[in-house]
Each structure stands twice: as C-alpha cells, then as structure tokens.
Symmetry: none
Subunit: 245 residues, 2 copies
Amino acid sequence: MFEHLKIILVGTTHPGNIGAAARAMKVMGLTQLVLVSPKIFPCAEASARASGADDVLSNAVVCDSLSEAIQDCQWVVGTSARDRSIQWPQLYPAECARKLANHPEKVALVFGREHSGLSNEELDHCHALLRIDSNPDYSSLNLASAVQLMAYEIRNVYLSQQTPERIELPRWERGVDQQTMDRFYQHLEQTLIDIEFLDPQAPRKLMRRLRRLYNKAEPCVSEMNILRGILSATQTTAKNHEKQD
Amino acid sequence: MFEHLKIILVGTTHPGNIGAAARAMKVMGLTQLVLVSPKIFPCAEASARASGADDVLSNAVVCDSLSEAIQDCQWVVGTSARDRSIQWPQLYPAECARKLANHPEKVALVFGREHSGLSNEELDHCHALLRIDSNPDYSSLNLASAVQLMAYEIRNVYLSQQTPERIELPRWERGVDQQTMDRFYQHLEQTLIDIEFLDPQAPRKLMRRLRRLYNKAEPCVSEMNILRGILSATQTTAKNHEKQD
C-alpha cells in the first residue's frame, strides 16, 4: 500500500535518524525511502536504529540531488520550519496526508537537513509546504519524529477509508441489555433493604445515584454475574443473621 | 498548558528513549514526565537525545511503582500492543488525546517497557487502553515515537480548541483520586471475604474484574460515599451474623 508515495530525506547528517525514519515508515506501512546525499550511509548506526525495518533501509534509493529523486513524481511537498520570504502554499499534517494518500499519481514528501532544512533551490521543486505546529519556545522536532507523525497521519487516511470492522467479543465480554440491568437494580434495591442500608420509607435519591453509577460502568455479562453473586451472598448473610435474631 | 497531564514511562530500558521522549513532549508543549523504575537514569545518552529538552528531563519525577506515580490522578490510560484475556476499554489516539486534554482532573498516559509493555498488575490501574494502529506485519513502534504521536495529538486538541474549556464541577461531582479508589478496593475485597464471596486462598481474577468494572464507572465523590456506606452496612450485617453463630 502507498507504493506511489516516497519519503525523501535530503542531506541527513545523523545516520541514526535515517534508521529511525525507516522504522517509523515501516511501522505505519510505508516502504519507499529515498536518500539524497546522506552524510554517512550505509552505516551500522542506521541499521541499529532501523531495528527490523532493514528491508526499507536496504531498498532505499540513494540520489545526488532532489531533482533527480523526484523525476517520476507529480506532486511534491516539502517540509520547512523556517519562515520564507516567498510563501509556498501551506498544508497542515492531516490535510497533507490526505492529499498524499489519495493522489492518483506518484507523490513525494521531502524532509530537509536536521539543522538547515531545505534550500530555496530545493523548495522550488515543491508544490506545497507541510507545516507541523509546535511549541513556539522549542520547535526542535526530531527528523525521524516528523517522519513518524506524517506516516501515522497517512495511515489514518488509510484506516478512515476502510470499512470499519466490528470486533466480535466473546459472549461474556458483551454488554448486558436493559432488562438485565433492571433486574439487577431490583436485586440491588432489595439487598440494600435487607442489610438496612436503604429505608424503603425514605429512599431519597439513592437508587437514582446507583443507577447512574452502574450505567456508567456498562457491565458486561461476566461482570454482571459477579455483581449478582455478591448480592446473593450478601442476602444469604443477612438472612442467616435475621433467623438468629 | 496541560500541567494536569503526566506522561509516565515504566521500566524504560534504553536511556536514549527517555531523552527522545522528553524532546517529543516539549516540542508539542508537554512538560510533566514521570519515570517509574528506569533501568539507567540519569544518563548522558538521555541528555544527548533530549537535545534542549533537558528541563523536562531534569524536572522528571522518578518513582518506584506505577501505583505511586498515579496517586493524584483520576484517569489513567495505558498503552499495550498485546491482546489480553480481559478486555479493557480501548481508545484510538485522537479520541484518547481529546479525553486526556479536556479532563478536568489530573490524568496520566502510561507507556510500558520497550519489549514487554505493561504487566497485568500495572494495567489494573488503567481505566482504558490506548490502541495505536500499525502495520500488522511490523508493529514495532518505537517508545519515543509513540510518545511523539500522542503529544502531537494532544497538541492538535489544543489547536482545535485554543481556549480549551475545563468545566468546573461541584466538589461532590468531581471524580475521586486513585488513593481513594485503592482504599475502596481494599474495603471491597475485605467485605467480599467477610460475606464469604471471595476465598482469599483462591481469589482467581475476581478483584481484577471488579477493578475494571468500577474504573469504568469513574465514581464521583458522592457515589464513592454511597459505595463505602454499602460496604460498611454489609460488614455490620456479616459481623452480627458471626457473633450469633
């Protein structure tokens, strides 16, 4: 899935970030990685941080320039933390992910150097800029983290377009119906009378409050069995006590 | 912002992940980091990977257990990759972020060990489980990446609301803290022993199931008072019965 979508890392300085980016991609189902003039690659640190995503790493295409990397792409988004004198159209992550994921042609999402980002010449190749909002006092989003966020958003697009599966729960994990809840409340009320916690002459709002509480819990079948068991054990205790009065 | 929200890392093995998590938090505006029994901390590698988020790291609280870490929290979400025999309520990232960000009380988002996640005993403290969907063939989401995704989603909530409302509830309608819940569970367990519903020699999973049930209900102060009152009345009944045996 998403074979039409390349993640391009330009001029990456730390090989650890390349490995971590490969892992970030694969965990969300992305596979197409392109490296433009990486400082150090291949490299043991990259492989270590890839941790099982070494196939993404070993299939990575290495290029000398961004323009070479995007030859077959129709739509290219760059990332940039800096403000530019010339404004490119800006996209936020979810919106950008939607356009990338649903694009009918080949597309690329381009990440710049750790410290200096993309050059103006590189941005000239981009149709839009991705803007990831961050803390204005500390906007140092790690490169692989940025890749992770976008891979996650791209997977969200995929998930939102799947027909949602309804998880089939085992019978005892399913919620109980209202008739069962009503019978439980009757049993609870009688038990509270039996242990003299509830005075039927002055019930106040006790049962209403207890209904609200147990409704919030949405008991499943096994939990309801436990609750009913506790009530029965309480009543047995109360009955024995009464008999001996 | 989001001072009511703790990120808790339990039993982290790689100090680099602690540093990267601190950076991931700060870049999205989160500050409250708690470390439960980290393997190695403090550590130069953690500081290096924090890269400017060293204030989050140096302010991190270190605890011996998860239950200590969440004493003042009212709502706790765990993360888990494994399927469990007992199902906790599951939340997806955006939904989970919304609940965390808008919660009127203190809340915690808990991340487990790199390889083994959270133990069942630790999950017993959680009200819900976060589920981050990933590639079924390679679901190895890095710990700091998971923190990054959630910090990003939490910031998204902030951005979408700008002035997030935190509704001020009357005292008796406010949720109770985990210390209060712990005392309730102790009282409940003792009462179930008193009425001979729970055999301390063969407790099975009873208390775990009851914890899940009452955690789902998120009792408020007035509801907790009622529950404790019912337990005390039950114990009185059981005691009178015993005396007359």
